[in-house]
Amino acid sequence: MSGASFQRGYNALKEVIDAPIAAFFSSCVHCGMCAEACLFFTETRDPKYTPIHKLEPLRKVWKQEYTFWGKLGRAVGLSRPLTDQDLADWESLVYDSCTLCGRCSMVCPVGNDITYMIRNMREGMAAAGHAPKGLIGATRRAVTIGSPMGVKLPALQAQIRHTEKDFGVKVPVDVEGAEYLCLLSSMEIMNFPEYIGSLARIFRQANVTWTLSSEAFEATNSGIQIGVSDIAAELVQRIVDAAEALKVKAVISPECGHAYMAIRWDGPNLVGKPFNFKVQHILEVLDELRSQGRLKMKDKEAQKLTYHDPCQISRRGGVIDQPRNLLNMVADNFVEMPETGKMNWCCGAGGGVSSNERADDLRLKAFARKKAQLDAINVDAVVSACSNCRIHLEEGLEEYHMELPLLSLTETIAEHLAEE
């Protein structure tokens, strides 16, 4: 293999440009509205964080390869071709200051899906060797060990044993013919193992058959975050193989934003064919159970709660109403954040940013946006459905000296189940 090189990166950029991207670059009128939608800009006021600006190298490639005048301009020396230094200069813009949250794509007046373009630009950045070290490390662990945090099967098995003991539940593994194959994020396994117990309790009450897979328990996909579809496909294939081997009806993506995007929306496109099983987010399944009357609650949360929309689940994933239905079932005092639902603000840590130590300071600065939202509504606790959001909201709150518990929606529901 030839290793990372500018030539491979440039070629990758050429590959990803399609009609949508060409339409987007043609239509951008440099109005700057995307900047005001991006928390990295709003909390630093540094113009270089303007979303469309992060795409300059990709735009150059589009112009010089796929437009008549652009190609002519380069041929006669009127415009400078892209260089490796350009990609190096843009690395921190593309990886440190973008979580692929998608707000810019919602506000652009000419309709540009800037997020889509950043995702695609990362293909070229990574192939040219300009991805952040931290993210490369997480990806290496995901490929070789099976988890970006390095969680191996024994560790999971230990957590399963704890869960079964603590909650008096059975956690099925490798059960063929179960309705659902459940995936887990490393973050949940290591930091929030109560999630596994919650699944067990809820499914027991609702009479749902489910299973984990010892071959493919990891839901997160570093390949998506670093922007290498080849690696992302390899990771998805593991899940597909397990789902097909266990003959499940559907795969459930856990409380993790990018995992949902990776398996639900990118998955079939990465492996090149449709799945012969459904993919659902846990919130979708829970909401289905709720609407079928299969969830019996004993009481509700009394404290004043709000919901933080994980970007990849709500805005980019389409699971917006379900958490609200569930919260209205389980909470008495649920208030929305100002700017909520598909326009909620990112926690600042998705899209690979949390794996990138270089981006720590910037990430914590950007958290001020979420803080401002919380300051406006004065709640007792924040509920979310992504463990990465949870961890980094906690970190941000600590940084800003705020006391506010972060709750998982699945765990909260499990807490209030009417169990015998």
């Binding site: 043609s26 440099h30 006021r45």
Partner: protein, 219 residues
Amino acid sequence: MTETEFLLWVRGPAFSIATFIMCAGLVIRFLEIFLLGRKADLAEARGSAAAGGFRTLFRRSVPDAGSFERSGFTIVSGYIFHIGLFIVIFLFVPHILVFEAVSGLSWPGLPSNIIDATNVVTMIALLAVLVHRIKDPVMRLLSEFNDYLVWFVTFLPLLTGYLAFHRIGLSGAMLIALHILSVEILMILFPFTKLSHAFTLWMARWYNGAIAGYKGVQS
């Protein structure tokens, strides 16, 4: 060349050339984009891509409340000059006659003095937009020659139109000829600059709405 000959050339061959370049250029631009194609989405759809695309075509013109608060100037000034351009171009009777001559379609116009006032407001909005582009740090970083050129060729027809309507500075024939010429320059540059956004934004909005609509998100 006499003034009459100049006016005649501007109304004649120059207009034909500008029309040809603009129409051919826009079609080429569209195909240049469209033929790059888009991979089919193999994930199971939650909503309708087409419905999403169609909805976003229009919905994107209405900014959300948060954007309005943060980018208020850009939105308001942008709306003023776009609506102003629309009124001045499409609702002034001498212009409607041009559209009628080209397409056979006609519609009622507004009183000319209202058009004149609208023109002034539009020019002021455009000047404000230019000042903002020069002073705002984000726009300064983003802006390049193309942005200023496009501003100028958009402003020029408004200015020459104002001078022609008010008969300022030159003879009647020259004022009208320069105004038509400034429009022809705009037409020629249309497919090759950002001005093409007037047409390509419908593609961009469509793709954006389709991608989101497929997932069941209203973008």
